[in-house]
Subunit: 389 residues, 4 copies
């Protein structure tokens, strides 16, 4: 399939969908790749990627650290076939919870339901695609019917689930994963949502309304008078509770965006809102193509996060950002990790400990409030606060 055809006309839908099916690639712990990263990736972003691998394997995964590891996912990684890397990490207990854009989870459902996404090209005529009912995610192509069928599955699941009140996204995605396993037996080996349910890994979505899963829940409310809704409060408090309970905390951030921000807000929620200083993340790994020079949160450095108490000021050597497309860097990272010494850990199964850890958060926060009540008039206690009008 030629990858670039500006001005081409008359290409049939069949041709657009003639690229190889995308399948979830599972890293196997290649010794060659380990060697390349250690010996060949010596400078620039190659070296940063090497640092990321070694911070993860030599520090975060050390049994004595028992690091609570959050993975955040932005960018269309499941459409690109990277779900297999995520499944592998979950199965091995190397990721304890996930914060993802809804799109990655929604598109994972296509794999779970055995629909096919195809390798394609970003240089195609979108008007033609539109007319032929072909959907494009950069260079991933698939029929629009895949959307409609997946939506239908979601809506039927919502009815089937009987859920009818506020839930956290972890609860929703767990129920979804269980349903998938029932209806597509074995799909936990080729679906992130199902594998997470199987491994007890809670999955959160920072922006619950901007994916087709959220859109179908909104439909359910508007059309079926359902009272099922995502309660972002639960998401905030559950993630906060995980971080509070972590012996050490570390993250792997793919991309940036609201999942990164949601994860990093956990520490400020503790010290700023609940009055429980936790000291910031102990480890910080990011793979992104954004850049610090644009000033946004996606490209913000671990150093900037220090001033917010998001990253422990003592650990900057244990933080790294590798600037690279995740579709290249993340499989390399996972090959290295799977091929390293501590490549399997007991699973924390946090999805089942949400209530317990939230109760602990509430308990500690109440203690903090009792010990340090909010001032009657804030300004009294903040003499250096500047007021300019």
């Amino acid at each position: 399939m030629p990858h670039r055809a500006p001005g081409s006309t008359g290409k049939s839908r069949q041709q657009h969908l003639s690229g190889k099916p995308i399948r979830y690639y599972r890293p196997r712990g290649s010794a060659d790749i380990h060697h390349l990263i250690d010996e060949g990736f010596q400078a620039f972003n190659a070296a940063r990627l090497g640092e990321a691998c070694r911070i993860f394997t030599d520090k975060m995964l050390l049994p004595e650290h028992d690091t609570t590891i959050g993975l955040t996912i932005a960018g269309a990684l499941t459409p690109a076939g990277l779900g297999g890397c995520i499944v592998e990490l979950m199965e091995r207990g190397l990721v304890d919870f996930i914060i993802s854009t809804g799109a990655n989870l929604y598109h994972d459902l296509h794999y779970a339901l055995n629909f096919t996404l195809h390798r394609g090209s970003p240089f195609v005529d979108d008007v033609e695609l539109y007319e032929e009912g072909v959907i494009r995610i950069y260079d991933v192509l698939f029929p629009s019917t895949v959307l409609l069928e997946t939506d239908l599955y979601v809506r039927e699941f919502l009815v089937r689930s009987g859920m009818n009140g506020p839930v956290s996204t972890a609860e929703l995605h767990y129920a979804l994963g269980r349903d998938l396993m029932t209806r597509q037996p074995g799909c936990e080996t080729y679906s992130v949502v199902a594998a997470a349910a199987a491994a007890g890994v809670p999955i959160y979505t920072s922006s619950p309304g901007d994916s087709s899963i959220g859109m179908n829940i909104a439909y359910h409310e508007l059309m079926n008078d359902s009272r099922l809704m995502i309660d972002p409060n639960k998401d905030v408090n559950e993630v906060c509770a995980f971080i509070l309970a972590g012996k050490k905390n570390g993250c792997v951030i793919l991309g940036g965006g609201s999942p990164k921000n949601f994860y990093l807000q956990g520490q400020p929620t503790l010290w700023e809102v609940y009055g429980i200083p936790k000291g910031g993340n102990d480890y910080f790994i990011q793979i992104t193509t954004d850049s610090v020079v644009w000033g946004g949160l996606s490209g913000a450095t671990p150093a900037e996060a220090v001033s917010w108490g998001k990253v422990n000021p003592g650990v900057l050597p244990d933080t790294v950002v590798a600037y690279c497309d995740s579709t290249i860097a993340f499989p390399l990272f996972c090959e290295y990790v799977v091929g390293s010494e501590h490549n399997r850990r007991p699973r924390k199964e946090l999805v089942h400990k949400r209530d317990e850890l939230m109760a602990r958060l509430r308990h500690e926060a109440r203690g903090a409030r009792r010990d340090h009540p909010a001032p009657a008039e804030a300004a009294d206690t903040m003499p250096d606060l500047e007021r300019h009008r």
Copy 2:
């Protein structure tokens, strides 16, 4: 204040906060800037910015088009002082609804509450800042007490508001804006949240849990047993209802991220979920520093959106992306707009029409469902659907 001091030590908190206070800049419709953009911005991204200005003023603002205009905001624009541009557009009726990261709204509260953010440098020692209690947003610096006081205000507002159930973010932000106007009279001239309430412009947040506003609502639930929560279903349906009601629809996207995605999902929600094809956006303007080559949604082109039905396939000439830091491009854009012919429109005051337009959405969706019921078994109607396992 020197803008770059690697390795400097002993810089006191006072020095870090010695930069000029940041104030909301209000565009005034400069004829010089109009001239520069028309005559001097002839190629490359300068030309794209010029196109954006002219699409907005010559097409989107034409009275006969009555375009429903959504503004999406990602990146720290209020900390950078760009709130004044947004206030100006709202006052003039040039923006009908807003989707913003929570951070932009939270930091807007500092201005509303008369706290000071300072011009600074991105080249400072963050460990030093941390020790001195100074918060850094790229090159914007302010005391951490500003966070604590703003949080306190938010929590007191939540109690005061009496809200105790699911709300849309528009409802929350409207109540917040009204509260600000009461407690800081006149602040609608220097606060986005207050000005939006005054002008009837609903503000949505795509990721309600990842800002300090959301974090304090989570506190309210955990600590005060409040039942106030953001219901993302309402956000999805309200925005969808606005788009359905629009004679023409157009957007100005600053940055990208989940606000961009949330806005653009409106059209697919209509055709894909509700069965009401609306035809896609008629106008599309984006200012971003992301790039198409990384493949992410933030940098995705209007053309890619066509295949999803997000952008009308017939209007690609009325879409444009200018690749530039919004802190430079957006004030230029606003100066041009304010200095153009149709620089004021009757306000739509959509914040007050949410229920009415939602009812209309429900009505039309029910009609569509009646006319085109979902198939009993989806695959029957989709013969070309591929199944690969």
Copy 3:
């Protein structure tokens, strides 16, 4: 003219060239733009651009500093119509020498020779353009005959000039500028090359073989047995001599690339090769869209240049990089500069002082060699030099 038409066919050459002619925009010192930059550009890259403006006007242009100012140009700025900004700066004595890609000078000749470049779109069918004989520089379009006629002019100029030996690029471009003024009287107001000759500003090209000017000189050698050639040694030594003679040295770097590198090598040439430490640049302004995170020279920070002795370690506060497309940032910068207090300086006319300053460089270098002869065996004097094989 629609700016985006993927897949369009049958667009005639005439339509492709129907965009407005690009003309050199001359900055006029707008007070509005001055106000916007000082009051509205408060953070992120807007603030960096503001810093750049103030470093230039408040420091580099101070009469007592008598800064020798080099301007380097990469990226297609003359095709984009930014030649007028450069002409304005030269006429006012605000730039003392220039290092440019050859392409900017070659395309400036089109303006000098009264050919027309058109505003266009980057979203056109290049195969169609190729077949119609239309040349595209991103979104600038013009007939390929413009290349052929300009080449013909260059070749005739080379014959006419009688030059027949090694020359510096400054000498070549000066002769070219004089020739243009003779044959297109008055063109020094709308041609960078001609204006530079008129103002005595020497223009260098770091990569003399990669533009059509260099290609035609190569033709002249191969086909006419000419002995005219660019001698890069002269370029290196002349620029080095300018920097040595500067009371203070400063630069404005547009883009990056080999012009940036060529300029910055001046200081190491002095200390590393000639043994005359000059202390590094005193001022450093760059406008670029490259980024530090990729590690390349184009995006390298002033700080990195310190370790090489390219930038004075004491002046980091007087260095700044604004990340922005030059087509947007440079006209804004020039408007600010022209509207500032010290907006005119006596011209240094360095093009006429090349021999004198080179003689001085040779004299000082010989003195340095006499005082500090190279060691007979280098390693003797460098005990800590590491050798690893």
Copy 4:
């Protein structure tokens, strides 16, 4: 060695140089990496990198195509240890000529001369480095004495060589490589410049004055009254002659910059200047972190090159740009190539065929001039040429 230490003081030179020595990594044709690229790199830039690998191995290296392959190098690849990849490709006959920034060749000399560059961090205090005599290339660190000793070697080589007139850079670098092999026997296995001489691969530099090699030639002229100089005409004509002689032409472009431009100008030199249309490149592979949206040549697409006749309009499917740091992508590419079927070709040894091929170019160009003489007055033959003043 901690990779990030803002604000640290008192770090000794020894500590800065304590990172592992960087060594040239030699790709070994890993089957695992081949598998990862074919099966795991399915979308986004991972897929582009896979395409690049397959265009190279399945098309460019096909014996029947006998493609003349140019490699262009920008960005600090030899400091980063990627010289081993280049040596491997040259030894195997997979690259026929090279166009590189001077810096890559100059820093290659450090390896040839057995000096050590160290792995380090980009987050160091450059003022401290400056004071300690440590040079930084992004995150590569080495003592400044390495520069001085390398310069001394270059100057002694220049004297030793006896060259005293205009030369092409290929001739210069060939002589340098021979000298290195004489003085550092065996260094052709760990030096690009030496290996190129051994393999008969000519190396050109597009910007001969902006590296320390060029600076020392300039010294030689100024201080020793040498008449040795780079003649860019020879570089232009030699490269042009190679391209003319190529059965098919293809390139691998690392980075962009003036080497990319120099290479691509070869085709326009043929049709535009010499009147010998060659039809454009048949294959085009680029690895870069620049982006098309900034409009510059480094990020320009193969499609844009079509309008200039630089790329054959019929071959767009055989062109690809992978957006990635070369330090990551190029070793992966080389592992794939070395592990593929046609991983060795007879060497063209173009360095020895320069005179012969130039004579052929001259002959054909004279034929073209005879058959299509330049018009007496150009405009007569170009009726549609626009003149606008």
